[in-house]
Symmetry: C2
Subunit: 431 residues, 2 copies
């Protein structure tokens, strides 16, 4: 990998020259949210960059879209399509590389460098996209199996439809927040005594506040209502990826979800990491997902094996006392359905995907107990303590706990990662 002239880019940064993820920042100098990319400890302000006289020389594909990086979301850029994202990422990689063909623009331009290359400490991150619809799938095989076995036993752990189609449900887009946003413990109806009949709910703060470690995928280009996206074309409709924490209240969910699915148990908050890693940046990390032994319907047949990514994922829990424990390390390869398959299925009946729509993978867990992406699994249904540094334990989250998800691919000096997907739990509102 070529190296960058940008200072302080450590070999361990998730934001190497091989990455170039896009986000929405605001800064003291420009408080209106606008586009940037991350490189090392810096954000490169693309709105400022696009004011440079040579901008359309360096980014000829943007010559009719010069204002695209001044918008408060990345939707307009995403809508330009994957070939444009590819060109723009390549041109930025060139601008930032030690042997750039345009040193005069940024590398040797102290004025622009000082205003446009902002330490990320000094910028505020915003939601990168305006999200019209959010769909959460259930493609994490080991999670679906473990949770199914917990509630129904190993023989019928997976529902009959599970290997035939990517099971998913519509989520709530209004409560998707960017990493760092505090999460208020939800109130809800819960059943204190599950053995009592008839069931008697109580309205109270959830006692089983959980997380779900997921990968999120943003849609770039739409399909027309009434037509579908072919599985072999679906990759072209993808903008990029983020880490996603699908906060879940297990006790609320258990009482409400039959027959129409999760509702208040999920819709109080979903956190995403702020930097969108472009689809192209993850291409080198393709791998085979979980083998599906069921003959697939034609519309789900990808005709290739390497359809998921091997991203090393990790969950850290930090207690109010400040002790941090890594409670899970796993990989995004443990999916039985790829995002192209999810997109092909979602649009099969003609449902329109729109620019900025977000798809969640479903909870990602590996086969071993160190690789579980939810407290529900880590505590075996709330029955076992999870051991933490500081002589503390958890079965579910306590007020003041902070959850940090990280994800990274590649080797030192050329890492492609997501940064943090972080949320701290606040006590419930008064009833």
């Amino acid at each position: 990998m070529v190296s960058t002239w940008v200072p302080d880019v450590s070999s361990d940064t998730p934001f190497s020259l091989a990455n170039i993820p896009f986000g929405i920042i605001s800064s003291p100098a420009d408080p209106a949210p606008h586009a940037a990319i991350a490189i090392g400890v810096y954000a490169l302000d693309l709105k400022l960059l696009s004011s440079h006289a040579s901008f359309t020389d360096i980014f000829p594909v943007l010559k009719d879209h010069v204002g695209v990086f001044s918008k408060p979301t990345l939707n307009e850029f995403a809508a330009l399509g994957r070939p444009v994202h590819r060109e723009v990422r390549r041109a930025i990689q060139d601008l930032l590389s030690a042997e750039t063909s345009h040193p005069e623009v940024l590398k040797d331009n102290a004025g622009l460098r000082e205003t446009a290359l902002l330490h990320r400490r000094t910028v505020k991150m915003h939601l990168p996209m305006s999200i019209g619809d959010y769909t959460d799938f259930y493609a994490g095989f080991h999670h679906a199996y473990a949770v199914g076995a917990m509630f129904r036993g190993p023989q019928t752990a997976l529902q009959p439809n599970y290997t035939h189609l990517p099971v998913g449900y519509h989520g709530r887009s209004s409560s998707i927040v960017v990493s760092g946003t505090p999460i208020t413990r939800p109130l809800g109806q819960i059943i204190i005594d599950p053995t009592a009949e008839p069931k008697q709910p109580t309205t109270a703060p959830t006692r089983r506040l959980d997380i779900e470690l997921e990968l999120g995928c943003f849609i770039a280009t739409p399909n027309k209502m009434g037509s579908s996206i072919k599985v072999t074309d679906a990759d072209d409709h993808i903008f990029g990826y983020v880490l996603l924490n699908d906060w879940s209240a297990r006790d609320i969910q258990t009482w409400e979800y039959v027959p129409l699915g999760p509702f208040n148990g999920k819709n109080f908050a979903t956190t995403i990491s702020p930097w969108v890693v472009l689809a192209d940046a993850l291409e080198p990390f393709r791998t085979k997902g979980i083998d599906n032994w069921t003959p697939l319907q034609g519309y789900l047949n990808e005709g290739k094996e390497e359809s998921v990514f091997d991203i090393e994922l990790q969950i850290d829990l930090q207690t109010p006392q400040g002790d941090a424990t890594t409670i899970c390390t796993t990989s995004s390869k443990y999916l039985i359905w790829s995002f192209p398959q999810m997109i092909a299925h979602h649009s099969l009946g003609g449902c329109p995907m729109r620019t900025g729509d977000l798809l969640g993978s479903g909870t990602i867990s590996g086969p071993s107990m160190r690789e579980k992406g939810s407290f529900l699994e880590l505590s075996e249904g709330g029955k076992k303590d999870i051991m933490l540094y500081g002589m503390d334990v958890r079965r579910f989250l306590k007020d003041g706990d902070t959850v940090i998800i990280r994800g990274t691919c590649g080797s030192p000096g050329a890492r492609v990662g997501f940064g943090e997907c972080l949320g701290r739990v606040l006590g419930a509102a008064p009833l």
Copy 2:
């Protein structure tokens, strides 16, 4: 009721002076979508009206929002809150009444009258709101009971949670369309032989295309994430109501919906009527809903009985041959949960409601067989023919069928209604 000077306002129009519903139109003279109200056979162009010199005299509450009716959706107007909607509706009623206090503005102003009072035949209707999130509830008691009894028998027809909380699920906002938009029959995975084990799906056009007659409710003003809307305050957060047809593919839904709820069986299309009937316009038609014998959690306790509306609802089916049959007449009073209860429950855990969010009531059916709001019920699970004019029959919808839902309140000369919620079924796309 006072009368209007507007010509050709028949005593049977749903758009009497007592109504004044808001919508988004475009016209040959002004093809950019903008706001209007409906009166008799006319649409009054509010964008043109707001260009009149006296506009802020007549609508003092809009003096800082003169451009609000030039926007392509009603969201900005909705966000101004219910007291503003009330004042604006009253001022329009005055402008249009025979004894208007401002005859010079419209009644005696031939120039503006001719350009602003447009025959509705000549305008195109658009989606009235930008809909961030759409939630579909299940509050139609007789529907929930009938469908539950069909699948589980009468003893366990209602799930244990049904009378404790307004059951609902997140719907798909991208496929909500305005009345008149054609509906393509969806492809999906269906089980041709339900007795075979293991289950073997086939990818094919749905054979059980159905409708669900519902009332839709638009949110005017938001709550902050992490806080909830009290049931007694919820009416103030409501903008208005539309008729809603939740098109459903029963065979797709049956195979997919366990454990996470309806997905492709619902997300291909939802049709709404174009004119938003303001919350105030329905106030005179309040009535008591279905009695709930279960003691309610405090946050659902409204402290009043008349919390739903008695809207006469009707479904007409028109065959490709042109024969129309009224297959259902029912009332929106058959709800066991009111919209304020749905809003209080939806926001209990802190989920933010946003301006323009849409809530569906769930299918509305009455107790008798003439009052069923879905083919599933009308055909008793697809086992009985529904008799139609033209010697035709249906169990579910055929290609070329047109479904028209209508809803109206009040007596001749002062009717408050919705107009048509119409959709015609097109054949499935090739696989």
